[in-house]
Symmetry: C2
Subunit: 145 residues, 2 copies
Amino acid sequence: MTLKGIGIVRNAVKQAPGPGYNWQGIVSEIVVDSSLTEALGGLEGFSHIIVLYWMHQISTTQLPTKIHPQGRPELPLVGLFATRSPYRPNPIGKATVRLLERQGTLLRVEGLDATDGTPVIDIKPYLPEYDSVTNATVPPWVTNL
Amino acid sequence: MTLKGIGIVRNAVKQAPGPGYNWQGIVSEIVVDSSLTEALGGLEGFSHIIVLYWMHQISTTQLPTKIHPQGRPELPLVGLFATRSPYRPNPIGKATVRLLERQGTLLRVEGLDATDGTPVIDIKPYLPEYDSVTNATVPPWVTNL
């Protein structure tokens, strides 16, 4: 299972900030490979897209199995799959972001929590009926994040 | 960028059904690698999880760039990234599913749209505040799906 980069993130965040960083106001450009112009046709009809990206700055050797979410010792020690920590066997991030604009293979998005230079591996339209859940519940510690 | 399988899907769907198949009632087991028991700790506190999986039955050579969604000719011809078609440069599926039960490294989930034998590459907790969007809009053809 080998991934191909389909594009790259460009923004002002050059170094990975700590957990809890507020990405909401960050505008990024996703520069998609020029061979994929046609494959993006119609994406601009969606207000939001899902971006899968490869967290290339993350080392996946000697992974912890349990962590305190966001490195906060007051939060319970839970398994890495119960968190959104970037330290996971496959360092794939999944973000749902607002699509501000598409110009050919350039996508301007807001709120993408990826640093400058991050490889993008997939882009999907956000479909509320498929991607969102009503009445989902989370454990108490999540409400303290 | 090389992926490691972390588990495998087991269910009654042995062959990929056509588009539009109703996966909602399908219960699957995700059999996670036995080395990852601790890494799943606490996941059972979430009602829903996000599963990333590798659509191993999909050929990614000679990809179309534009398609009629779900192979329905009455729907507009759009770029593959404007659809959830499995035919994409990196055949990664992303599903949000109900977590019925965890027993060690066995996860019972409902509504996972992956066939029996599909490799799982990541599991994340579903966080409504991060993963869902209020007032997202989609193009008119999506409402006809």
